[in-house]
Symmetry: C2
Subunit: 350 residues, 2 copies
């Protein structure tokens, strides 16, 4: 639907694996001085000196994590990198390298794989990370992508999930729910397209939501911002699955409870408007939607003034004692319990 | 066929992702002091001090890389780790951590996944590496495994593919062709089993070949052995694809030619006997077979006496000037050209 179908189609089988690797890696450049040996040997060699090495990995499967009928391959490549870099940033680290493995069925021509890698390359260039290895193989069905990101940080700067203390303030970056609403718009347009392939939808009024879904950006800027504000996060996690399950993860790891406030959750106006149109509660979109790749972290109460009113940061609540559980105060002042699948109003009386 | 079908079957859907992760990771222990943070945060944290960090990754797809009708899941888990550790050892490095991502269709019950991880855990314990992360997801078809291995080495010890010099001797560890012949035996037994599911084959006379295929061991011992012999490899690669394509990779990366001798290629007697039975030339099995996970490396001529006659090491040839190409002298004294797909006697007159 959003994909250009007129690109040339070179069957991958005409190249062989080594020519394929050469084709897809030749335009990648090295950005980070810690990359000693990149693609082309048995393994990559990276020198992180006295800093800690941080590693994260994700596996993306066609039909489970993405739908190529509305996800252009270049965007998929870009997003696959973001998903992993986000995990490095969620440790308060600096991302330095990635490896990318792909399995492709023979329905994909070379040009499709090049599109995918163009997105990966754009992500590498924008975020100054180096592609240092990977694996390419055939699949019996569909497209699979496995990305591993490597990063670094001085030991004292690393923010684990487990460092939050009772009384800490809960902060979230950017705004939430947009990626989920972008998915709703795209799913609806896909259904329209299946009925009428000639339709030319005008999606401009959903551009922010769609961009959040198709081309998310990981928060590489937050580490520097927090340094500038002289704030050290006590715990941090990225919001990949929705605010509700992420804050529960962080609370459990830190052995504390949490209380957040519905009317403090940052929602972009376009997201709010789209929620209304789709008859979806915008708090539900933020709590359960996921894929926003914002960062959720805790700070000491004494840092309140440093963070208050910052356009990229919203203070949405605080950590409580463990026995208080995981709660949200609604806009109407009612306290409800958060669950890993989101919130459930009927469970509050338990 | 070789799998026990009587294990209990708990549908994975009854657990959810987090309980699944907890179930499969609870029996893993930490071996390496460089593992600071393992599973459970956004990313793992590893401290490699002043040494280089080495990273390698592989993707294994059901129906492409393995056939569960004769590959027990525990063996698959073990082998998936070996494939990656082998790449770290091929840099003359020490493997320290792995991450494992899996995608599984709902035909696999929890007990199957536990079997897979039992094999991964055995590999971690035997090779003293730590499982520090991964991803678990559903697949629309079959089983996929993505493993990333991380290792370390002092800079001066790392052996790249590109370090071989003209006149260097070519050395291979262990013996070759066994894994390929094991595959032939298993494929034949699978065909027999499909015709007669009651057949109880006696595979004991193929036990070495089958073990090479189903439970290969990566050469973690070679780094220490070479130190003991006071030999520094100038270049190194692991034999995952067959001797022929590996020595061509190494020669090309080093910008040299090579000449090996057919009658120096180490073949186990059982492998030779199985080759005869299957009417496969044993040199073909060694050159093209792959999956032996032995190491191929080059050393200075002055180290000849240190290596000569060692039971784990075979000197099979030497590096020549680049323009001489990639050649093998057959048992009959004829020189033939090696190709990446193996050797082809008809091409020698070109």
């Amino acid at each position: 639907m959003l994909e250009d179908k007129n690109i040339p189609k070179t069957p991958i089988a005409t190249l062989g694996e080594f020519a394929l690797i050469e084709t897809i890696t030749k335009d990648f450049t090295i950005h980070d001085p810690s990359t000693h040996i990149g693609i082309g040997d048995d393994a990559a060699v990276i020198q992180h000196g006295d800093e800690e090495t941080i590693v994260s990995t994700d596996l993306l499967i066609e039909g489970v994590h993405f739908d190529l009928s509305y996800m252009p391959l270049k965007h998929l490549g870009y997003k696959a990198v973001m998903v992993n870099l986000s995990d490095i940033y969620a440790m308060n680290g600096t991302a330095t390298q990635i490896t990318v493995s792909i399995a492709v069925s023979n329905r994909f021509p070379l040009e499709a794989i090049e599109e995918l890698y163009a997105g990966i390359r754009l992500a590498c260039n924008n975020y100054k990370v180096d592609l240092v290895g990977g694996d390419t193989t055939s699949s019996t069905k569909g497209l699979m992508l496995s990305v591993t990101a490597i990063g670094k940080a001085p030991k004292e700067e690393i923010a684990l999930r487990s460092g939050a203390k009772e009384g800490n303030l809960v902060v979230v970056t950017g705004d939430l729910g947009g990626a989920y609403m972008g998915l709703q718009v795209l799913e609806r347009e896909k259904a329209v397209f299946q009925v009428n392939p000639q339709s030319q939808p005008d999606l401009s009024e959903y551009s922010y939501c769609i961009e959040r879904q198709l081309k998310p950006e990981a928060r590489t800027d937050i580490k520097a911002l927090l340094k500038e504000l002289d704030v050290k996060p006590s715990a941090m996690i990225d919001v990949s699955d929705g605010l509700s399950s992420e804050i529960i993860h962080l609370s459990k790891a830190s052995k504390v409870g949490c209380q957040i406030y519905e009317d403090k959750i940052p929602i972009d106006p376009e997201v709010g408007k789209t929620c209304e149109e789709f008859n979806i509660n915008n708090t539900t979109a933020a709590l359960n939607g996921g894929e926003d790749y914002e960062l959720l972290f805790t700070i000491d109460q004494s840092d309140f003034e440093k963070v208050k009113g910052h356009p990229h940061l919203s203070i949405i609540g605080h950590m409580t004692d463990e026995s208080s559980g995981y709660n949200m105060v609604t806009g109407l002042g009612q306290q409800i319990e958060l669950t890993a699948q989101g919130w459930n109003g009927t469970q509050t009386e338990e």
